[in-house]
Subunit: 423 residues, 4 copies
């Protein structure tokens, strides 16, 4: 069966995109040793190697096994090992034990990836008729978006793992000196929005996840939204003003988390008397002579930059900051409606932005069909919506209608906030 | 200072209402022994005696100490013992240890109530000028609504405590035989609603909690809502159809709860082979000769009544049932908009009804001033809204705009569900 | 069947003793309200009411059901409720939930006791032939010793429960002022013992538990033993010298317990800045004007008495104190061999004394036959032997060969220490 | 300073031994990938890499820093990372987080070993005078014995880690087919021992740990001891006879462990329906056609060999087996006294043998001086003594007076049992 011309072109483009996305995953893992790629620092995080294998398993299970005739699985045991949470696909290796899988090795996982890559590319090359294309294309596209989500998780998870090492090693040394930022951060400005009926949710034929649909109308009160993100300088003032000691600023569960876990600052901030500063980065510290905050990130421990958006923040911290600032978090629809507001900046590419919206289904929401039904819908309780996209989000992966979501206590993602208020 | 006429009348009515509500609390505790009133069966529940004391503490702390000149506290140590969660009022006895307070005794708590009652009535009687009245009346009203909430909790909490006793004793024996209900429950009917812009939230000068305000417009899609609650007969079919074994019906957290806790049926249902049936109610069982479900409730263990609304259900179970039924839960605004829909029944007085709405703040929400700021707002994350009112809700306490809320795993309240669907 | 003369006399004496022991249990519970008698403050402790019922259950199950013809159980459900840990007798109410049994009430438990008492007395009165007597007498004697053990536990458990109440109420107010003790405690003296072969363990026909047998020879090195117990004044010096901050004094598990639980002093000591001193005993404190330690006990909170033996100590604390004092704990055989040593005091009636002996079986140990096999033997791992007897031990219950045992972290019993050292 | 002749010879021998022991550790790690060497499968186990580094740290800290003039630590941060439990040496990386140390890498740890090896060898070569020798030799010898202990732990810990991988990979494939053992195990024979006074504990000038001293007399009753270990065939009969379902065979804590953890057979046994048999060893299984037990070990999953000693057993299981067999475990002194008994076999080199002796100090016990004081003494509570030595114990490391010890629930060591009984 030969491909019709437009399908052939589309297939060729998809092959290119497939190669590109798959190569990016490997490139992200490249700075890491085999040991780094194996460990799991908490049940919510996964090893790098597991991300590399699971995204491959997704293509094998959802695309190749049902659609590629005669496909031979690389290793039938991987079906059990690398299923994440798909109940419909049977029992799986328990999530908290992913770090115990020293075998298969990183090398075997690479071989697994090559095996699956070849089969996917062959499928996209060869026998794709119109009907097949209609079935296959959405799955490949979903698989690539899925892999992009895991690219971000790969980074956040390894960053968490490295943060558990008292030496605080860098994922990747900074290639140059830290950007010299203006000493005085630009003041935040309020951008008034008139509210009214807004169209929200995804529309059009481009890919989007089911949780962004259906597009529908929402009614907004007049509000103002900040033109920029809350930055580290802002947040340091909140801390200095006793933010972590004042119960009245916190939601009840947030205050309980502060007390139970001894939170005193964002997860990756180091106070000037942190013993790890002496342990891991003596030279650095001496160079800086700094007595203030340090922040751990992908480039290791660096002196805090006041203008950089505050990150790795839980919803609880974001909400407490907003309360302290006499403001609030925007709802997800306020955020979406203001996406193109004149003067607004930092809407994507810096940090995911906590909203004051619980992760509930849209009116008329229907999960994707088949196995993918478990992709988003079953998590719609107890979580909060984040909007935007972060430095770790693959370019082109996010969009204004994108709904990211995490539980309110999560503080290992690139998550920060922007203020809003009633008018 | 003498009272102006209308205030005097209002004060007199408030005194009557105060006496009435306060007496009701005691009446609810009356069937219980001192031992019953002391125990705490889980951290989320409180002893009967604690409810009696805490509601009294509320009047003492929020009303009498700031507003009743020369008021002498009954016992200054009670300030520490009976504060529930008001951070602004200082440290307090830890919630999970309320059951360890054998002292003060029930008798002392009764004396505490009398002491405070007299002071409140004296305050309302005597020196209430116009200005005072404006300050005092809202606090007394809040305190009475607060006490009514605790009246329901008193019942749900003691029911939970009794459910932990393998003898399954009754809170109060049924005065007569169980109602002979029709063998075949009436079929549920769908009531179509056109949607559009609805006004939701509280309006008017009557009392309402801050979380019901401000009244605002919400945009609804067309939908249908069930004319009655899901009943035990309906729910038994869900169980018989493998409802508790089918992961695909459940939210992810719900399925985890099913597996972690071994849920197989609602919390207070007893399967026919439950050993406690043999232990606690031999005679009863023999009389019935039943091999089916039994249900534990305020009147002890009774054979399941198919027509009775299913109760003591978690949100997870409610959502799984709705999924199984090919429907969904209504949002809180769909529920509110349908309150007076022709043909609708059982909207209040049976069970609180889980909605598909997370407990988020209304647009423009402002907490009550002062200490009462902690009353509702700080709990607005991680919980779900329930609407309606239950058999345990004091008459006149609920209203269509009332927002009750509990975490999704809570299953010791009088909580059930009503179905909805898109049109 | 008539009783032979000596049996009749023995039976009469046993009836007297039975009445006496049973009455003592009720007398110990008498100062407590129904609420006090119901609660359980930790899984290791039991409610007063449960002690009263369980000791009764023991007579019913081990004596009456097998040996009293036609005996009708008071309530067959109690078999499940009041079994403690006898696996051979089937499933039982879970230990940590004993505090949830508000029913049966204290009154019902009293009725249960009367029912069983009458049946036991009737059995001892009436049809006891020689053969029956041989079967019955050891069970009654065991049951009485069992009840005496629970009399001590009743006191230690209610004391723990009251210690969890921030008001720190007294089990029983002191009848007079605290004993005026000498300001300077008498210095401790070492009593040298020559060691060699010692006979240890129980001998003779009087009652003893199986774990004290068989009597056998043990080989002791020369040692010295202290003439008196370590007292509160001694122990306060240990604290003042940083005893709870110096890891080198502690066994590894003990140090872990210190850190995990924040131990800074014995369980029932209150530092001068303890907020409960202000809460519960203002007057008392003012009277005393004391700024030092207070100790909570059966008479409530009292200023520490330097000469009183330190009590409610864990093995870990006892061992750390001994290390600090340049000494060690005696082994259980050193203790037993020194029981009658000239000059030795406080060997019984003050506190149980931790020994440096793990609770292992004696050579040739055989458990009691039948159900009583589970009485002692199955606990012979992970615990330490205590010797002596305490203020809470019923008079006549202990003896030099008596082996009490608790896990090393237990600190709610009347437990203290005496020093020993090598010669 | 030159060495006197005998010291020079001794130093040369010690250098050889040092090289030998250090090389053995690396050889044990050689079959493992960098990933294998990094993970930690439970808090009680440590990563291979950590063992390699910690044993090196021991030489660096206890030998080189105090005794090698001008020694430069390889990396001062390792002092924090690789201290195990020496409180006197300051804070250390928390034990449960050893698996999070992906850095330093295996290669860096190897470099660390070389650095320290060179310094130790230089110290032993060069300036060792008589006085220095007297100080240094015991430390080096202790360090080597310490490293040998960790060699065994390295094997038991990696075996546990591999057992957590559902693929059940082999530490090292068997070089040949499994030994063909006699189909019928030889019957066990009882060897009577007369008891009396026995000398126990270490004597002489060879190295021994402090916990084996002082040598002293112990008094033994007549007893019999089994001529061989309990083997897998024996143990399979215990299982088949309901051993894991019969509470009466178990100590109370053991029975609780059986129920809490669902124990049904030894930790590394696989029942014929174990899903991992299908997952990990299809070929193997088909070859065997076996429907019986399989056992996981250093060579991966193999069919159970009836004659092989049962291993990876907890004390609780060993004691329950002995009870079932109508026998008991020997005390540690019975075991030691029977070490050379005629006819006795398998006393060392197979499995460590649980004794019925708690790990208490010997009369007159004194810990080693200095830092080594924390080596053994502080663990003398809550553990049981094991005697003998296992297949994983380095040759020459054990001796008849050797006291190994583990908590009663530990079941990841090469631990089994031998029976004894009273005569």
């Amino acid at each position: 069966m030969t491909l019709s011309r437009p399908i052939a072109q589309a297939a060729s483009a998809l092959r290119d995109r497939f190669r590109d996305v798959r190569a990016t995953s490997l490139a992200l893992a490249a700075p890491l040793s085999a040991e780094d790629q194996c460990i799991q620092s908490m049940p919510d995080a996964s090893p790098t190697k597991w991300h590399l294998a699971h995204t491959t398993w997704f293509f094998e299970t959802v695309l190749l096994q049902p659609h590629a005739e005669g496909y031979q699985p690389f290793d039938p045991r991987f079906h059990y090992l690398f299923n994440s949470y798909y109940e419909a696909l049977g029992p799986r290796h328990p999530r908290p034990h992913r770090g115990l899988l020293t075998r298969p090795s990183v090398d075997e996982v690479h071989a697994y990836r090559r095996h699956v890559d070849e089969a996917v590319l062959a499928l996209l090359e060869g026998g794709v008729g119109e009907q097949d294309w209609a079935a296959i294309e959405p799955i490949v596209t979903l698989g690539l978006n899925h892999e992009q989500q895991h690219q971000e998780l790969l980074l956040t998870d390894i960053l968490h793992a490295l943060s558990c090492n008292p030496l605080l090693p860098a994922y990747k040394p900074a290639s140059g000196p830290a950007l010299r930022l203006a000493a005085v951060p630009s003041p935040m400005r309020w951008l008034p929005q008139h509210g009214g009926i807004a169209e929200v949710g995804h529309t059009g034929s481009d890919f989007a996840f089911d949780n962004e649909t259906p597009r529908h109308k929402a009614l907004l009160q007049p509000y103002a939204i900040a033109d920029r993100l809350v930055n580290c300088g802002d947040y340091a003032q909140f801390i200095a003003d006793g933010g972590y000691q004042r119960a009245e600023l916190w939601l009840s569960d947030g205050w309980a988390a502060v007390q139970a876990n001894g939170w005193r600052h964002p997860a990756y901030w180091l106070a000037s008397d942190d013993p790890r500063l002496g342990l891991g980065s003596q030279q650095q510290q001496q160079q800086q002579g700094s007595t203030g905050w340090h922040v751990f990130g992908l480039h290791g421990v660096r002196p805090m930059e006041a203008d950089a958006p505050v990150s790795q923040l839980s919803f609880y911290e974001a909400a407490a900051y907003a309360e302290w600032a006499g403001a609030r978090l925007p709802t997800e629809f306020e955020w979406e409606a203001a996406f193109d507001a004149p003067g607004i900046t930092q809407m994507t590419g810096h940090v995911w932005q906590w909203t004051r919206s619980s992760y509930d289904p849209y009116p008329g929401f229907r999960p994707m069909p088949g196995i993918a039904a478990e992709y988003n819908g079953k998590f719609m309780v107890g979580q909060l919506v984040l909007r935007g996209g972060s430095v770790a989000t693959p370019v082109g992966h996010s969009r204004p209608s994108y709904r990211n979501f995490f539980p309110p206590a999560a503080r290992w993602q690139f998550t920060g906030l922007r203020l809003a208020k009633d008018l």
